[in-house]
């Protein structure tokens, strides 16, 4: 939670496990296979700031972009994939809409940086796990007790089938 990781090693899997109101933000360069993942907890850095940029949507986007570019990604090719931002708790006496605010803040920061969103699975009331496969660049999302689904690219499932068939 509140952390950031990037890789260019094919076969690495970056995971954001148990996303409730948090947003798992992936940035992928499909050409070079470089990918990064940030686990964003809150929409905006508070006054005074802290040392963990990945935690807040407004600082996570530039920090993640930097990390991916440093490993060989090119900003103009980057695709963003998001998951999370659920509202899992109702009236437990705390502010309820962090999930939705995180979703909005991440998208706003991405738009401000000129980065496009390739796919998103956000909102609702269920927790999700997001995984990014570096190199081949596909992204999966899974809910508790649910099936593993390919989130990006859209034809990833079909492509995988073809790869297995040819051994």
């Amino acid at each position: 939670m509140g952390e950031l990781v990037a890789s260019r090693h094919p076969g690495d899997v970056l995971g954001a496990i148990g996303l409730g109101s948090c947003i798992g933000l992936a940035l992928i360069d499909p050409r070079t296979g470089v990918a990064g993942l940030a686990h964003v907890m809150l929409p905006a850095t508070p006054a005074g700031g802290t040392g963990t940029p990945a935690k807040f949507a407004d600082t996570a986007v530039p920090a993640l972009t930097d990390a991916v570019v440093r490993l060989g990604g090119m900003k103009s090719r980057l695709v963003a994939v998001l998951a999370g931002g659920a509202q899992m708790l109702g009236a437990a006496g705390v502010r309820l809409d962090v999930g939705a605010r995180n979703d909005a803040a991440v998208r706003s920061a991405l738009a401000g940086a000129g980065l496009r969103v390739g796919a998103a699975e956000t909102g609702g009331t269920r927790g999700r796990t997001l995984r990014v496969h570096v190199g081949e660049c596909w992204v999966t999302v899974k809910e508790a007790g649910g099936p593993l689904e390919y989130l990006w690219p859209r034809d990833a499932a079909r492509e995988r089938g073809r790869r297995w068939a040819t051994g």
Binding site: M1, C22, T50, A92, V98, R128, G145
Partner: protein
């Protein structure tokens, strides 16, 4: 440990001990069996590590959560693995997962949570009341993160008080988490006589 001395953690652990003792007594009355309490853990750790300190983030658990209102802000959460939930419902004579099972779990959470908070009130002198219980079955990581983020907010260190209740003779355990906001934790410590 960010900002909490050993003395303070000891005080919090003791408070968690008394709280879970009261909750354990209540549970024992409910199910008609003895209930054991583990030694509580008091941890002040970065939010990023908090989930794994509690358990496997991807494991599916049932959580019954109560907000705390009054002079302390935060959440009390009781966590059950599926087998524990089934065992508990079995002891109460209801089926897991249906409406009755859901009500029974919420009611248990309500009673245990209220006992825990009652003990905290007695020890700290702070007026505390639970808000209505909520039950969620989902990945541990998602549940704890969703509870931690509003309480921890922008701070790096989350304060977790973790204790377990075990029903004797039945494979049923429940984890108890107290997640106070940072400001509340400070106030609580002051009332317990170990201010910052």
């Amino acid at each position: 440990m960010a900002g909490y001395s050993n003395l303070q953690l000891d005080a919090l652990r003791e408070m968690a001990n008394v709280g879970s003792g009261m909750a354990g007594t209540a549970l024992s009355h409910l199910v008609g069996r003895s209930v054991d309490i583990s030694v509580p853990k008091a941890m002040a750790i970065p939010a990023a590590e908090a989930v794994e300190a509690i358990g496997d983030p991807e494991a599916t658990v049932t959580a019954v959560m109560l907000g705390i209102a009054g002079e302390l802000e935060g959440i009390v959460a009781m966590l059950f693995a599926h087998a524990d939930e089934a065992a508990l419902c079995g002891l109460l004579g209801v089926e897991t997962g249906g409406e009755l099972g859901h009500s029974a779990m919420c009611e248990i959470g309500n009673i245990l949570g209220a006992s825990y908070l009652g003990a905290l009130t007695a020890m700290s002198g702070m007026v505390l009341e639970p808000t209505p219980p909520q039950m969620v079955t989902d990945m541990l990581g998602a549940i704890v993160a969703s509870a931690l983020v509003p309480t921890v907010g922008s701070l790096d260190a989350a304060l977790l008080l973790d204790s377990s209740l075990h029903i004797e003779g039945v494979a049923c355990s429940c984890s108890f988490l107290l997640l106070p906001t940072a400001a509340s934790a400070g106030e609580l410590l002051a009332r317990l006589g170990v201010p910052a």
